[in-house]
């Protein structure tokens, strides 16, 4: 360690302040939303809530419990996340394992067949028509299977499998193990960190997606929370459209309701976040290595 010059010390202090400010900008919206969701409508309307909730009440949360649509949507979201991640992992793992084998006849063509879809896809309308023509509109399984594989995640797993020493597989094969057994007993236990990364990628993607569920699902009994929230947010802005902006909004409890819905929509991700952070950083690195 060398001596730091005065300029460097000043920079160090300035840097610490700047980074603290950046970090605060990143998390402040979360704190604000939580505070508003816990405050009473009057304090929110007066603009008194900035950091801590004022006039604490849980009205907006109890509203959620009583409003049936929200609960259904919440449960739907969990269904799409868990079921979707399970299906995604099964398909991606099978494909990535098989295509990581360079000895496989046709592996070059098959890899190109898959990776090509990263740079070219049919686009929104042909995809929509495809679901429509298969009679998969308003069908839960369209969401589960129609978006099962993310090719980036496939590349991450394939890269991992390709780097496992061949000798392990050969030894097992000599002992008479089948390919399925090799995958289950040797590769999967070794790949747990990579599998966890990819599973988290999928879980986040599934939980957060709104666009295709919005387009494909019509019945209230099937839509996930993000779609309900989207309707509420858009309703809110169109409701404000019709108001002069000098005037205060009526029914601010509606705002608290939206905020608390946003909070419950974030909770699963916030719970996953510590795990995500540990694995994602590694995942990003693997993914950025040439596929």
């Amino acid at each position: 360690m060398t001596m730091r010059t005065r300029g460097e010390k000043i920079f160090g202090i300035f840097n610490a302040i700047l980074l603290t400010a950046i970090a605060m900008v990143c998390i402040y919206p979360f704190i604000y939303i939580l505070a508003v969701s816990l405050s009473d409508a009057k304090s929110v309307n007066m603009g008194a809530v900035w950091l801590l909730p004022k006039g604490i009440n849980l009205n907006s949360y109890s509203q959620i419990v009583h409003k049936e649509g929200i609960w259904t949507a919440y449960l739907n979201s969990f269904f799409y996340m868990f079921m979707g991640t399970a299906v995604s992992m099964a398909l991606t793992t099978l494909g990535a394992y098989a295509l990581s084998k360079k000895r496989l006849v046709g592996h070059r063509f098959l890899n190109l067949f898959v990776v090509f879809t990263m740079w070219f896809n049919a686009g929104m309308i042909p995809m929509y028509l495809n679901f429509k023509n298969m009679g998969m509109l308003d069908n839960r399984w369209a969401i589960i299977f129609g978006f099962a594989i993310n090719t980036y995640n496939f590349v991450i797993l394939r890269t991992y499998f390709a780097n496992v020493p061949q000798a392990l597989e050969e030894a097992a094969k000599i002992d008479g193990a089948s390919d399925f057994k090799v995958l289950l007993k040797i590769y999967l236990p070794l790949a747990v960190p990579s599998l966890a990364t990819v599973a988290l990628f999928y879980a986040v993607e599934r939980w957060n997606s709104y666009f295709w569920p919005m387009i494909l699902l019509k019945s209230d009994s099937k839509i996930p929370l993000q779609v309900v929230l989207k309707k509420m947010v858009v309703d809110m802005s169109s409701r404000m459209d019709s108001l002069n902006y000098g005037r205060d909004m009526t029914g601010t409890s509606e705002d608290g309701f939206i905020y608390s819905t946003m909070v419950i929509a974030m909770i699963p991700m916030l719970i996953l976040y510590p795990f995500i952070q540990r694995y994602f950083v590694k995942g990003v690195m693997v993914g950025s290595v040439k596929g």
């Binding site: 010059t5 300029g7 920079f11 980074l19 950046i22 970090a23 605060m24 990143c26 919206p29 979360f30 604000y32 929110v44 309307n45 603009g47 099964a90 099978l94 494909g95 394992y97 098989a98 295509l99 000895r103 496989l104 006849v105 098959l110 879809t117 740079w119 070219f120 896809n121 049919a122 686009g123 929104m124 309308i125 042909p126 929509y128 028509l129 495809n130 023509n133 390919d179 986040v204 939980w207 957060n208 709104y210 387009i215 993000q226 989207k230 947010v233 802005s237 404000m240 459209d241 902006y245 000098g246 601010t252 946003m262 929509a265 974030m266 991700m269 950083v281 990003v284 690195m285 040439k290």
Partner: protein, 311 residues
């Protein structure tokens, strides 16, 4: 004769190899079925772009119309507007959003207290994991005309309240700012990793030569980051036509179409909302093809410059 038996042998060898790996092929079936049914079959459906598509006649029954749908697009008075908006939003994000993660990574690199560094990282990565709907909800409510935080501050400072989301002139700023807020931290991961890969001996050598921290940053850190920066920059240029329309759909409104409407959002309204499948597919195809050319060219350039790219 010898040659014939050789090829025969080769062929039986090949089928032997395929048979030996039959379980692997079996594993591939569900995997490939996904790509065939949900990714490649829609590509077959791209023919709609060249047809006068009629739901009742179906894909094969609808008559071919050649480039009629494309003519409609280029004759559309809004075509110039959506193309301009697409390019402008991408260009502005390239100018303003692209450098942010690099700056953040460099600042974090100068921090000596590890706990502080990881705390800042934890905070800055967080927004990335929040859904676009929630983020759009935050933006909408913070900018709300009467009770939104920004307008409350403006009012306290004695300015007039502004309904930001209904003003076309603010849309791009809002869109790009929220993009930076959500993605800068997460995108910095790649740069932080690249910084970790710089040889420490280079720093030692620079110090022996009498370089201070600033000069070390200039002569060691930045050159070490350059390949990563160049690669990611080229990839971003390649993606210039792929604007995050899912976010735009949540934030725009008819009053701001003038600056907010991009190709994909127009395709969405035309196709999904108005069921004009022919023209919207044609427009999407135009976007994909030009976008593909861009990405392909960008990747070729990236591979040539520093031997790394997406594929």
């Amino acid at each position: 004769m010898k040659k014939l038996s050789e090829t025969k042998e080769k062929r039986s060898n090949l089928s032997k190899r395929i048979w030996a790996d039959r379980q692997l092929y079996f594993m591939l079936i569900p995997f490939l079925l996904f790509y065939v049914i949900f990714v490649y079959k829609p590509m077959w459906g791209l023919q709609v772009a060249f047809k006068d598509y009629n739901i009742f006649k179906g894909m094969s029954g609808s008559p071919w119309v050649g480039f009629e749908n494309f003519k409609t697009i280029f004759g559309n008075p809004y075509f110039f507007r959506i193309l301009r908006n697409t390019l402008l939003i991408s260009t502005y994000s390239l100018i303003f959003s692209f450098p942010m993660p690099i700056i953040l990574a460099l600042l974090l690199n100068e921090v000596r207290i590890r706990k502080f560094k990881s705390l800042v990282q934890t905070c800055t990565y967080l927004p990335y994991f929040i859904s676009t709907v929630v983020v759009a909800g935050m933006v909408t409510s913070f900018l709300a005309p009467s009770t939104g935080m920004v307008n409350l501050i403006l009012a306290k400072l004695g300015f007039e309240k502004i309904y930001f989301l209904s003003k076309p002139e603010y849309f791009r700023t809002i869109f790009i700012t929220q993009g930076i807020w959500q993605n800068a931290g997460y995108s910095s991961i790649v740069y932080i990793a690249a910084l970790g890969g710089i040889d420490m001996e280079l720093y030692d050598a620079a110090m022996v030569d009498g370089c201070g921290r600033w000069k070390q940053t200039l002569h060691v850190t930045l050159p070490g980051l350059l390949p990563t920066i160049v690669t990611l920059f080229i990839i971003s240029v390649g993606n210039i036509l792929n604007v995050g329309y899912e976010k735009i759909i949540l934030l725009y409104q008819p009053a701001t179409y003038e600056t907010a409407d991009v190709i994909s959002t127009y395709v969405y309204r035309l196709g999904v909302e108005q069921a004009n499948y022919g023209v919207s597919t044609a427009m999407g195809l135009f976007n994909s093809v030009v976008g593909f050319v861009f990405v392909y060219a960008a990747n070729k350039i990236s591979n040539k410059i520093n031997g790394m790219g997406l594929w």
